[in-house]
Symmetry: C2
DNA sequence: TCCTAGCCGTGGTCTGGCTCACATCATGGA
DNA sequence: TCCATGATGTGAGCCAGACCACGGCTAGGA
């Protein structure tokens, strides 16, 4: 059951079965329906979460109300660690994009687990380092790539994590509206829509509601960089 | 002497005097002159560095040769940890902006230090978390703010870390050319120059070579957000 | 069943910021 | 001292992409 998902999570990967089961037992459980908010930017809170099932978006809102998505996370991925190690309010709002369930762990419990388990600490460091590297890549993309390029890159990333190949291409049920996709790549909905329409007209992909089918991975990848 | 600088570094902050001295002894030392490169993006390498004296820029180059600066780091700040915990080639090129010296530590030595010293691991986690938070802020700025806003924000950050107040304002010897400042905020040199000229004409600051004097912190801060 | 609210597709306009093209100003080496 | 080289200021033109304004589509609730 859901233990399988958690075992893939970086937090657990270094643990043996027994330790993993024990850690799992000490974690809380939360379930939400699509569109519900787990916590808001600015909230205080010191829980770390792992997605067990479903998808969430991490977003921030600018002073004038516009929104920007930092990431879309799926099963096995962790979030909320920032307020753990860098004390302060939550830096993003987490909203579900599908029905979803989570396992959670408090700061104190995590610290107890870290003690005497250097491999777990090392796993967390890897995780944070990888996130930081990705964040730097996003910055580079915003500076160097145009909107269609960023859209292509986002689709490839989503395909990589949520895609399933079939005869007619890679089906990617990303569960995002074009509005959300636009917020993810830092562009307007209209521009993203035009980029998608252009890709579709070239036969690189087919558009479906909250989903795309990638038919020419090669060309799309080339457009991405 | 330089031990004072290192004691402020996050890597050391949790250590007592004796441990700090021992760690310092196990670290290598490097000195470079302005404009020299410590390592290139894509190099292999597993050393972590701490700036002892001087400043460096972390930059990446796009496929078509344009450059983007991720950060300017000064005394006490750490870099190169990414390739440690997230194995892979160096993700950025590090170049000195002034004459500079560094203390370095290899992956293996660091891991030995982490073992049995959970506080050090925790310090590193804090450091990475803080960097990640900053990277996310940069992303938000690129999406939400215009170039003058980003320039203002960059100046405030530099002032915060390298500024010295005097009667006529905060003197910020950032040691960056306008070209480098432009790469830091993800804009063209010309646009940055015009933004700076505009700030100066409003009396918010005075321009000097590789340096600015901030005269109206209040207005500049307001322009930044 | 209809109606409403949210998505999605697509044109037209306007502008921030990039590129190009110079002129000027330092600064250090011969 | 004089020149070369890089840094700095500034204007002109152009264009990607934001913003605006629709019309059509679809799904879920009354």
């Amino acid at each position: 059951m859901d233990n399988d998902v958690l075992r893939q999570a970086p937090l657990f990967s270094a643990l043996d079965d027994e330790a993993a089961t024990a850690l799992r037992a000490s974690m809380g459980e939360t379930k939400l329906r699509r569109g519900e908010v787990l916590f808001h930017e600015g909230d205080s809170g010191d829980k770390l979460y792992v997605v067990v099932d479903g998808k969430v978006k991490l977003g921030r809102t600018s002073s004038d109300g516009r929104e920007n998505l930092l990431a879309i996370l799926g099963p096995g991925q962790m979030f909320g660690e920032l307020s753990l190690f860098d004390p302060g309010p939550r830096s993003a709002t987490v909203t579900t994009v599908t029905d979803a369930s989570f396992a959670s762990l408090s700061h104190d419990d995590l610290l107890r687990w870290l003690e005497g388990r250097p491999m777990v600490a090392h796993g967390l460091l890897s995780q944070l380092a990888s996130r930081l590297r990705k964040a730097n890549d996003v910055v580079a993309d915003l500076v160097f790539s145009d909107v269609p390029g960023r859209v292509a890159k986002a689709l490839l990333d989503l395909a990589d994590r949520f895609g399933r190949s079939a005869d007619d291409g890679i089906h990617v049920h990303h569960d995002l509206t074009q509005e959300e996709l636009a917020q993810l790549v830092g562009a307007s909905r209209e521009t993203v829509n035009k980029a998608l329409a252009d890709f579709a007209s070239r036969g690189w992909l087919r558009l479906e509601p909250r989903s795309v089918v990638i038919m020419d991975l090669e060309r799309l990848s080339r457009r991405a960089r």
